[in-house]
């Protein structure tokens, strides 16, 4: 019951997004595209937090790495190989995350990891702002939306809403990939690590290695989101990976619910909806957004996704419980 309803909702939401440009103005379409990308970004963050039990406060840095890699390569005239550029940007993010993970994860988890990642992301932002080759503080403007060829067919992503639809497909694929990672044996093992890392080790799980792989995958997907974002925004600046960016997935996850796979994505869209509907209320917009976030966190500790599942469970009144309605939903062991 729950599954079917949620599935229908998902299809409906997907269709609404794909059809959006047919009636909405370009501002709204831009917002929707951005939300999809940051939603994927938030999912990648929660793969770490909700599954592996690691909190990174510097995910914006990896988003930035993906965006800059893409921007630099597009500027360098490689726009004929868009798919390859996406792959390279993703790899760049994965490689950086792997390097950080090798150094950091062995000793620091918890608050130390949070501070360390935050510091590294800030370091990257400040460094980018000093390098003239990437435009220093002005960043790289006028990023082209390239042609995209697959087989014999070539699509000009610069025309009309082509890039938006391309984003729809790319994000759908990334969501599917994340879903598969989170729900398979790998994701199950990660969950055991979050729930009780010692118990997991005593099943013979190399917990350090699993966390490292999760850190790398999460970083790669974050960078991929950044790479998709660069031609969408058509400009990258050092602020693309600032602290606000790193906070985004955390806020979305709080709002949507860390214990549900879809929580961060739901949170991203809710957040955009709130910001969009309060956009004219200059000055008090932040207050409203903040109050709503506070309200959700206090009223629904399991986020909107958790509350939704609990509601459906109550309506359908079947004793079997879903993972997201369980009482013990603290995303990280105290």
């Amino acid at each position: 019951m729950n599954r079917t309803l949620s599935g229908l909702l998902l299809i409906f939401a997907g269709a609404a997004l794909v059809l959006l440009p047919l009636w909405a103005n370009s501002g709204l379409v831009f917002l929707a595209g951005t939300t999809m990308v940051v939603g994927v970004f938030a999912l990648s963050w929660n793969l770490l937090f909700g599954y592996a039990g690691l909190a990174s406060f510097g995910s914006g840095g990896l988003f930035s790495i993906g965006a800059y890699t893409m921007a630099v390569m597009l500027r360098g005239g490689f726009e004929g190989q868009f798919l390859l550029l996406i792959a390279l940007s993703t790899l760049a993010g994965g490689a950086v995350a792997l390097a950080i993970g090798i150094v950091a994860l062995r000793r620091s988890t918890g608050i130390f990891l949070a501070i360390l990642t935050l510091a590294l992301a800030e370091l990257l932002r400040i460094t980018l702002a000093k390098i003239h080759w990437v435009g220093a503080e002005d960043g790289i403007p006028n990023i082209v939306r390239p042609n995209f060829s697959i087989g014999l067919a070539t699509v000009d992503l610069g025309r009309g809403n082509h890039y938006y639809w391309f984003l729809c497909i790319a994000c759908a694929l990334l969501v599917a990939l994340s879903w598969w990672i989170a729900h398979g044996r790998f994701g199950r093992t990660l969950r055991t690590i979050r729930l009780d890392i010692e118990r997991a080790a005593f099943m013979g799980v190399d917990t350090h290695r699993y966390r490292l792989v999760a850190f790398t995958i999460s970083g790669a997907i974050a960078a991929c989101a950044g790479a998709l974002f660069a031609p969408w925004a058509q400009i990258v600046t050092p602020d693309i990976g600032n602290m606000m960016r790193s906070t985004q997935p955390i806020l979305f996850t709080l709002l949507g619910g860390a214990s549900s796979f879809w929580g961060p994505m739901i949170g991203a869209f809710l957040f955009s909806a709130i910001e969009f509907s309060t956009r004219t209320l200059v000055g008090i917009q932040e207050i409203i957004t903040g109050s709503i976030l506070l309200g959700v966190v206090l009223l629904f500790p399991t986020g909107v996704a958790g509350a939704w599942n609990a509601l459906i469970a109550r309506l359908t009144a079947r004793p079997r419980r879903d993972e997201a309605t369980s009482a013990a939903l603290q995303p990280v062991k105290e």
Binding site: W180, H183, G184, R185, R188, T189, R191, T192, L195, D196, E198, R199, A200, A201, F202, M203, G204, V205, D206, T207, S259, R320, R321, E323, S326, A327, A328, L329
Partner: protein, 256 residues
């Protein structure tokens, strides 16, 4: 052959020295019990054997190999399986999932994963094995319950299930009946006996405060007090040992 051999193990927590040169040898197939008053260092000795904590001096050998520096997961892969004094299960998962993840970990480590790479579900074989195991532990009717909702005794049995799912060569149980009712105790004692009976080849190392459980299961007993081994031998040896009577059994006798 010795399953586990400890040679003069020292362990301190900060300034507090908890183990003082402990030696022990546990043979294949036997049920070896470690007893002693609260704070004697039984759990700490367990932790040193399994690799949960290191030790400052001495060595731990497992199946003839020095594993003193090996992390817990390596020792587990080599065949150690343990439970905790306070049962640790994956609370957000169902009882069945708890056992399935343990089976999957074993299959993965042995390179025997039989689920296709793209499949998100555990393999049929893993799920069947989990159900069989839960049935043996009389948890089959609670298979779909979240571990958090299980009673204390059920949690302890589920944890035993997680451990057995790893098909260990040596089963290490830290107070398997702690906090259980007398009837549950009898049940778990029976269960351990059926798992480790002659012919199973399974070695068991256990700590326990309940002498009924110990006398019902142990082949050999080691008595600890204040971080030192004070006696070792058969049940009869231990019963007859004056020092043991004094520091440990004597106390119990006075209570009774």
């Amino acid at each position: 052959m010795a399953m586990i051999r400890l040679r003069s193990v020292d362990k301190s927590y900060g300034a507090l020295k908890v183990l003082h040169g402990v030696d022990a040898e546990i043979s294949e197939g036997e049920t070896f019990a470690i007893i002693g008053p609260n704070g004697a260092g039984k759990t700490t000795l367990f932790k040193v054997m399994t690799g949960e904590v290191g030790c400052e001096a001495g060595t731990v050998e497992f199946l003839g190999k020095d594993v003193t520096r090996d992390p817990a997961y390596r020792r587990t892969r080599a065949g150690m399986g343990r439970t905790f004094q306070v049962a640790r299960v994956f609370k957000e998962m169902t009882a069945e999932e708890n056992v399935v993840v343990a089976i999957e970990a074993r299959l993965k480590n042995a390179g025997q994963s039989d689920a296709p790479w793209y499949s998100v579900k555990p393999s049929r074989a893993a799920r069947d094995e989990a159900r069989d195991l839960l049935a043996r532990l009389s948890l089959d009717r609670k298979a779909q319950m979240h571990a958090a909702e299980l009673s204390h005794g059920d949690k302890k049995r589920l944890e035993l299930g997680i451990t057995l799912a790893g098909r260990p060569k040596v089963l290490m149980l830290d107070e398997p009946t702690a906090g259980m009712s007398p009837s549950e105790r009898v049940g778990v004692t029976e269960l351990i006996r059926s798992i480790s009976g002659k012919g199973s080849g399974l070695t068991v190392v256990m700590t326990e405060h309940d002498m009924g459980v110990i006398f019902g299961l142990a082949d050999r007993i080691m008595v600890m007090n204040q971080g030192r081994k004070i006696a070792e031998g058969s049940i009869d040896d231990i019963r007859a040992d004056p020092v043991v009577r004094d520091v440990y059994l004597g106390k119990e006798a006075h209570h009774a």
